[in-house]
Symmetry: D2
Subunit: 252 residues, 4 copies
Amino acid sequence: MSAQIKVAVLGAAGRMGSEAVKAVTEAADMELVASLGRGDDLQQIIDAGATHVVDLSVPGSTEDNVRFAVEHGLHAVVGTTGWTEERRANLQLLLEQNPSVGVLIAPNFALGSVLASAFAATAAKYFESVEVIELHHPNKVDAPSGTAVRTAELIAQSRKEAGVGASPDATETQLEGARGAVVDGIHVHSVRLRGLVAHQEVLLGGPGEQLTLRHDSYDRASFMPGVLLGLRTAESMPGLTYGLDGYLELGQ
Amino acid sequence: MSAQIKVAVLGAAGRMGSEAVKAVTEAADMELVASLGRGDDLQQIIDAGATHVVDLSVPGSTEDNVRFAVEHGLHAVVGTTGWTEERRANLQLLLEQNPSVGVLIAPNFALGSVLASAFAATAAKYFESVEVIELHHPNKVDAPSGTAVRTAELIAQSRKEAGVGASPDATETQLEGARGAVVDGIHVHSVRLRGLVAHQEVLLGGPGEQLTLRHDSYDRASFMPGVLLGLRTAESMPGLTYGLDGYLELGQ
Amino acid sequence: MSAQIKVAVLGAAGRMGSEAVKAVTEAADMELVASLGRGDDLQQIIDAGATHVVDLSVPGSTEDNVRFAVEHGLHAVVGTTGWTEERRANLQLLLEQNPSVGVLIAPNFALGSVLASAFAATAAKYFESVEVIELHHPNKVDAPSGTAVRTAELIAQSRKEAGVGASPDATETQLEGARGAVVDGIHVHSVRLRGLVAHQEVLLGGPGEQLTLRHDSYDRASFMPGVLLGLRTAESMPGLTYGLDGYLELGQ
Amino acid sequence: MSAQIKVAVLGAAGRMGSEAVKAVTEAADMELVASLGRGDDLQQIIDAGATHVVDLSVPGSTEDNVRFAVEHGLHAVVGTTGWTEERRANLQLLLEQNPSVGVLIAPNFALGSVLASAFAATAAKYFESVEVIELHHPNKVDAPSGTAVRTAELIAQSRKEAGVGASPDATETQLEGARGAVVDGIHVHSVRLRGLVAHQEVLLGGPGEQLTLRHDSYDRASFMPGVLLGLRTAESMPGLTYGLDGYLELGQ
């Protein structure tokens, strides 16, 4: 963290983008050198002397933005969606030609959420039982949440690799839906409640004990520590990293 | 609580009965004067000078036990199941002939559980959203639990009487079961986890706030404070009371 | 709720006031007829045909505002602080001369918080143990929170009236502060955590069971259902009511 | 898990020991070949063909027991207290002479508790704020619990190594004890409540989000999965391992 990190924010007018502008401005070890919106000339990034870009634009622009950054030797932290496997494969090829550049593409920048999912996968192989409860505001149109589905998939994979069987369940008679949805063998329950934002609990049980991993997301500001951590780490992680957990030290 | 309460326990050899024997023995304001098991002569209760009986026997005996107590002017606290509406109606007739006698029949003696259900019904009319989560050990064969179903029914009735509509829910696409079972319009979720005993949460949500009422039942000892409260209150509540909440002061 | 409730909001430019303007505007059974700020002529309220006022002004204005409303036969819902016992006594005298007018002064309009405190007081006399944990953002300058202190006082009073002794505690060696602050004999713990808003848990324990009453306040919007409930109820509750709980049906 | 693990339990008559006898007997991949109590001849272990020992005896015996096991080439899982640094150093010397033998000494065998502590240390460096709440039955004589103190120490060490400063706290006026005890700069709160067993929460907060790691210990059975995991792992981990976390795969 010796030299200042000189950051250009792309998609700076959006909701996430404007949070990022604010967060970078307030970070003592960073300098905001450019804020670009739709249609702005990417050359401004270079002219401003940026060393890093944060891309929070739109799926239609993100690929061009990141390619431009990599080709100019800038590290990139990317929160825009739309990075299919094919796009990521193409980016990987480009990064092989620019081997000192680090790029982080993260579907989720909330540190607590990423840590909770990683811990859940680690713990799941040591407990007989595991279930997931996600709780959101009642305007959400899908159930379970995407994060809950991914968490259940990670848990299921961890248990499978460790040879752990299904959670015990003696249920014989059930009112339809009582035991929740089943994702890769893991039960997932979706609560919808006015006043909530986005919350998730992973419950793990063994003889005589329970471990609960809960994440509460109260507002969009929760993504900014993850974005800043990405900016601080990218230079030391050349190549493409997919998922913020790749930048975290999760062991001891 | 001036004079000592002289208690006979019926069904004293059962699991609940032996807990009651212990609890009455340890209560400073009570004296255990008789403990009867299956086949014992009820006359022992009278000979021992009991003023109150606790019936924790079996559905086949409880009606005879309670009638005997009432006919002899003894107050009764009853935890045995099997008290259909017809049986209760017959008991009520008998109590009219013995107007000073108080009988409590309670499907649930756990104070915390009874209070949580009562509070849930009271609060449910003041919040837009309400859902129930119950969590039990994985050997339970039915889902949701009987307590959760009754809680949901109480909540639904309270909201109906107050003219409160359904909890908002914008769910369009759902993995089957994700949103739980629906009891009288209230969503109920059942978690099964090794290590747990019996737990329930009622979640209530309004704009910008959440109220959570949680009850944890760790072991059978949790029923005893309710049994003792029943014994201390029965004399002052002549007639038949169904449900421990009838003996609680729930307002302010 | 037949006729429309015609509401004037005083202190409409403040943070609470602007929320109230929005909430009244959106309520189907209400009509916003006037919004007054500092220095505006109170006569506007009358000219606009208001039947009710909401006072969310400042301690220096609230007494004059409410007196004006009462003298003109308008019901009032008051969230401004500064209502000392003396001020309330004077208001009571004025209300005796205007016996059809209802005034609610409420230090706290969050329904969930008011209900949680009332439930805690009710439950506290049925459990051996009770403690309070309050959790707030780290910019709060006092600990414990005012709400936690009031909750502890209500709990202590309820236990005293019911003749319940102190919560059991065998602590012999203690790192200073570990067991929290003690308010009227009730242990209160204060957590300060970035990301939180305002949260409180009352934990009650008896043999083999636990009852937890938790309130989460996420934003200022949480006060508006209480304000609207006050407006809908004031006409049917002539005289002065202090505390929103006076307008709630808390028994069964 | 090819060959059967042949286990001798030392201290088999104690509370933990009798649980271990039961757990080993029920494990499909293990065979209980000997159960020894105080004064029994250790030679029985050899005669019975044990490959592993579980030592749950007393501080006065455990050192001799473990030395005997190591000298005879048996792997050992040790839950007895009293293993000072000096004792462990001596054992280490002995193990250098028996390089194929694995010994686990674990102050805590509850998997959930060990995982929760490890996760807390990992997560603590990514959040601005962290506090610990531990909750126990009211017969406990010390506060905070030993586990809470160790958890706070691990958290403090992790934050120090990562260069993370103190949790923010603007408290100016405080009722004595409200903000808890302070262990290495980490606030720790101790709740005592009838009905509880042993519970702990680590709360981590950052802008707009919260991560909560909770462990509930309901009874002694919670230690057995850790003991069995120790027995299954010891052979593949030659030398001395202190702490069950050394046998867990904590990264991804």
